[in-house]
Symmetry: D2
Subunit: 144 residues, 4 copies
């Protein structure tokens, strides 16, 4: 079983649109925060640190696929369940299940998302950029 | 050939993150605006109007899949090329290609996105919600 | 002494700009959420409820004045201390002090903000809008 | 007369809240973009450039005061009229008037904002920060 970390997010009035439901780009704001929180909770050092030790400056997003199952609105409390479900050579799949806690204890699945991310290092040269590094074993060991 | 509508977006300082590139949730903000603009430019009336005539209150998002190809940063001007590439019974596929105009006239593809959206109508009942309506032929005729 | 309610907010990577500090519009996102939370914690019913009983649909902002004292960055946890410091005929002053909890227990004041808000009711007519209602005594009693 | 630069902004669906009007923090997003655009249009070089020549890395915000006069909603086009109305020793006042262009040619003032900003330079030391530089005469000459 992959390690799972839960990130909790309140839905606020300003997160909702004139249809009175969460404006969908906000889910990606929260998912990005939940992604970073996953690494923090797994004990991965701050990217400032890993830049010095491993050359890793962060986990840029390459591909994302999301399904919107139910709408959420302000007042809702969402649990974003995060895990890494696949490790490839130079990328990994990070999965998110966003659930709403209802009164009475039931939960509704609001949306699901699967991302492909890389461990990014700086690429020098004429036009500086970011390149995919091989998965650092020390980070993988902390996250699975 | 599907009809194509271009939505232009400047990238601002505040759209970028500490890595100095566009923070990816902002692409979805722009894509949502580009989606709506597509219908406006095709001559589809305001949703306030279509709610009365067709019961359509908007085009909620069901599924989105995006690939991030190059990063963009502040100062960039992005063209988001929007079209509807598939019409299904009760949903449609809206496609986005985000390009940066470079000096000298070349363009870079920054990201691509394919969404499944529905034409949403109100569902009454105990817990009000949204349901997928059959594609209104009058709207489809304007958009293809 | 006015009643004080604290709203806690993590600062995330995506809340920060290329200068690596919180992009200031985000403070206003959090302040708006802290304003609403103040009323919830004081026991004021949901605006859906007060619309029926008092005609109050929310607390629109009329005027805001903020001082930015220190910058904050991702990883910081901010406490937003909220109170209503003045009640006028048809408006009130809501005050925010945003503090960062440091390791070791000290706090830094990050920013301060004073807003003038109203209790808004619907104004019907040709162009619908919002009008300021006299302060509802039942709400005031809960908040001071 | 101070130099004036106009920044134009469409209001999109997602900029609006469940009350169907612009959620106010979005005004500050646009004002920040309009502030930066002012310097660009006045011919001030990119901050990457001024950092090398003048030590100026940007114009951090110290204080902002905004009045919300009328609401705006999606479909509106807003002109943000920007000028610098006061030059102090180590700070300046930047003023914004946000107007909506109506059909028929009339304009409505939506909000007004006065900011105090500084020309920021890096402060080295144990905890790096930003300090206010004296107003660079070369920048002032371009902006007034």
């Amino acid at each position: 079983m992959a390690k799972e970390v839960v990130y909790t997010q309140r839905v606020e009035f300003g997160d909702c649109d004139p249809a009175r439901i969460v404006w969908f780009p906000n889910f990606f704001r929260w998912i990005d925060a939940a992604s970073r929180n996953f690494f923090v909770q797994c004990g991965v050092p701050h990217w400032n640190e890993t830049e010095k030790t491993l050359g890793v400056i962060g986990t840029p997003l390459v591909d994302t696929h999301a399904k919107f199952i139910q709408s959420a609105s302000y007042g809702d409390v969402l649990d974003i369940r995060v895990s890494i479900t696949e490790w490839r050579q130079k990328s990994f799949v990070q999965k998110y299940v966003v659930e709403r806690r209802n009164e009475g204890g039931s939960v509704d699945t609001i949306m699901e998302c699967e991302e492909v991310r890389i461990f990014g290092g700086r690429r020098d040269g004429e036009k500086p950029g970011i390149r995919a590094l091989p998965i650092p074993p020390s980070i993988r060991a902390l996250c699975e």
